[in-house]
């Protein structure tokens, strides 16, 4: 729900409640005033009646007239007469056959020594009309006011919030990795102007951090390569020494192996960081199926060495858009993976179609959960060869370049599938 709609909705609901309550209160107040007026007039008439009875000791009037009628009826005297009381009553209009509301004052008065019940009435018909007219007018005007303010409010707030929506649209288009700073207008309203200032500062900071982090990752990796080169060089010099014992050589070999692993790890992490930072932009159409075939041909010596057979089911070629360097990295990681986790005398199968490319290999079943297969530093077994980044790189490339990679295992067959993502 949009902010403006929400605000209008709440406003409408609130004013409706307020209007209803005020209409009710208004009705009650008017009614109270009218009753008050009628009742005070009835009291005056009661005083007139009393004065009349005191002077004349008698009361007679025709019971014919309905309006301003005073009904006097004798009552038995035994009981204590109740105090005077007002009540509403309806009396049938004999011409219209309509019930007409009356206010009635009932009291007890001795007339000529005999207790009589006296009821004085006044018609409420005009006052009711008045009340109806007032109520109707009020409802009408309040309704119009309500609708009017609602319309005005939505127009006004739409205009007031415009800078906010402009800002929102600009932020949506903002690209963190670009070198262009965030361009926001300077609206006249203080809050929006402050908001834009804050956003601009935040964006600048984010951009700066992003670029420095990117640089840092790269520089850190590069700076690491030089000491590693130094270690390698010194090891190579050290092993030229004639007097080395077998144990010493073994130690040196361990140092050498470890430094080579760090170098591989470092290169893997650097590549991942570069892909994450979208530093490879020049995508080209790549025939992955053909490249995979070539990759397997390049590895024929290793395949022969491990006695792994390669077979391919005929099918259409799988074409994708990828930076060539990453296409190569993707395939070499997949092929290395298929060879590494194979067993001697195993096989590799390639299935290619226009929509996907499958690489299946025989091999022992996984020890780890298949979902974690694409995580960084996830290694099957205690292999010292692998640094555990290969499939993470594959996943990262796929995620960044609209591809999907999935893993299935069935009956000793590991299958990695590359497919386009919708």
């Amino acid at each position: 729900m949009k902010l403006l709609n929400k605000a209008n909705y709440i406003y409408l609901l609130f004013s409706l409640v307020i209007y209803l309550l005020s209409a009710l209160a208004f009705y009650q107040v008017t009614r109270f005033l009218i009753y008050d007026e009628v009742e005070s007039r009835l009291r005056v008439e009661k005083r007139d009646f009393e004065a009349y009875v005191r002077t004349h000791h008698d009361w007679s009037s025709s019971p014919y007239f309905v309006e301003n009628k005073i009904v006097v009826t004798p009552v038995s005297q035994r009981t204590q007469p109740p105090p005077e009381a007002f009540s509403d009553t309806l009396i049938l209009n004999r011409y219209d056959n309509e019930l007409i509301p009356f206010r009635q004052l009932t009291f007890y008065e001795p007339v000529d020594g005999v207790m009589h019940r006296v009821a004085i009435r006044k018609s409420l018909i005009q006052t009711y009309r008045l009340l109806e007219a007032i109520t109707a007018t009020m409802v009408l005007f309040l309704g119009m006011l309500l609708l009017g303010t609602f319309w005005f409010q939505s127009r006004l707030s739409g205009r007031l919030w415009q800078p906010f929506y402009d800002t929102l649209a600009t932020i949506k288009r903002f690209d963190l990795s670009s070198t262009l700073p965030l361009q926001l207008p300077q609206p006249a309203i203080t809050e929006f102007s402050e908001l834009n200032d804050v956003l601009r500062k935040m964006a600048d900071k984010m951009q700066h951090d992003y670029h420095s982090l990117k640089e840092f990752t790269e520089n850190a990796s590069h700076e690491m390569q030089t000491p590693l080169a130094l270690i390698n060089a010194k090891v190579e010099q050290l092993i030229q020494t004639e007097q080395l014992t077998a144990t010493q050589t073994h130690w040196i070999d361990s140092i050498y192996e470890a430094s080579r692993r760090i170098a591989r790890l470092n290169q893997g992490l650097l590549l991942l960081a570069k892909i994450e930072n979208h530093q490879f932009i020049d995508v080209h159409p790549v025939n992955l199926s053909a490249e995979l075939r070539q990759r397997l041909l390049d590895m024929d010596e290793v395949l022969l060495h491990k006695q792994i057979r390669v077979s391919e089911e005929p099918g259409a070629d799988f074409q994708v858009l990828l930076p060539p360097f990453l296409a190569e990295s993707l395939l070499s990681n997949l092929v290395s993976n298929a060879i590494r986790h194979n067993h001697p005398g195993g096989f590799i199968q390639v299935r290619s179609s226009a929509s996907q490319l499958q690489l299946c290999n025989s091999g022992p079943s996984l020890h780890t959960a298949p979902e974690s297969l694409f995580q960084r530093f996830r290694k099957e077994g205690n292999s010292h060869e692998s640094v555990g980044l290969g499939l993470a790189i594959v996943r990262q490339i796929c995620d960044t370049y609209h591809l999907m990679v999935t893993y299935q295992y069935a009956e000793g067959l590991h299958t990695l599938t590359l497919a386009g993502r919708e």
């Binding site: 390569q225 130094l230 060089a233 050589t249 050498y256 170098a263 010596e301 491990k306």
Partner: protein, 225 residues
């Protein structure tokens, strides 16, 4: 042969110089851009080995300057940057080779030698080691004047050995020289072993002495007995 090593990491420059000096090259070093710039203006080198990231400038500018001064000097870039653009850029402005750090000294040495061979004799020279003769441009190997047929990998292996005689070559450096760094070392070490075994047998069959020695499982040495 005069070689200039432009590298700001002293220890690394020292190692390269030591290794090269053994190969009877005259080696000089420069640790900064200014120093290197001065040297290439003053002296002539057959080959320079340049690090791209120097504290006071880029190795690429140095290469551009050098190309204007002496076009024949061989140039090998050693860089921590392993990006395709850097490699292409380096080759575009006239460098002959590009090595990514960390590299093997033996590999650097082999590349320098191969570069100098191409530069100085157009590749039309022969490599001789006692009774073994290699003719690089024809990819032929003779032992005691007899043609010896080697596989592609065996030939590469022999050439690598001949570029680095009398030094211990690690298995990893041999494997990387033959296959690049895309294969697992366990597999490649086995394959190195079998290629060395075959090469040795072929050379022995033609009457060559056994020059290949295994060094404590860390590597192999090809040299005079």
């Amino acid at each position: 042969m005069k070689v200039l090593v432009v590298e700001d990491e002293r220890g690394l420059a020292e190692s390269i110089t030591d290794y090269m000096t053994k190969e009877e090259y005259i080696c000089e070093t420069a640790a900064t851009f200014r120093e290197a710039d001065e040297k290439i203006h003053l002296y002539q080198y057959d080959c320079i080995i340049v690090d791209l990231t120097l504290p006071d400038g880029s190795g690429l500018h140095l290469i551009q300057t050098l190309k204007q001064l002496v076009a024949t000097t061989g140039i090998i870039i050693i860089s921590a940057r392993n990006s395709l653009e850097d490699k292409l850029k380096g080759l575009e402005i006239g460098s002959d080779d590009y090595l990514t750090k960390p590299f093997h000294l033996s590999e650097l040495n082999a590349r320098v030698k191969s570069l100098l061979r191409r530069r100085q004799f157009g590749g039309h020279n022969e490599l001789r080691f006692h009774e073994i003769t290699v003719v690089p441009h024809a990819r032929r190997v003779y032992v005691n004047e007899q043609l010896t047929t080697l596989s592609r990998k065996e030939y590469d292996l022999l050439l690598y050995f001949l570029s680095n005689t009398d030094v211990v070559l690690t298995k990893a450096s041999i494997a990387e020289h033959l296959w690049g760094d895309n294969i697992d070392s366990a597999d490649s070490f086995d394959m190195v072993y079998s290629h060395i075994k075959n090469l040795r047998r072929k050379l022995l069959d033609k009457g060559a002495a056994d020059y290949v020695q295994s060094v404590y499982g860390i590597g192999y040495k090809f040299g005079s007995l």
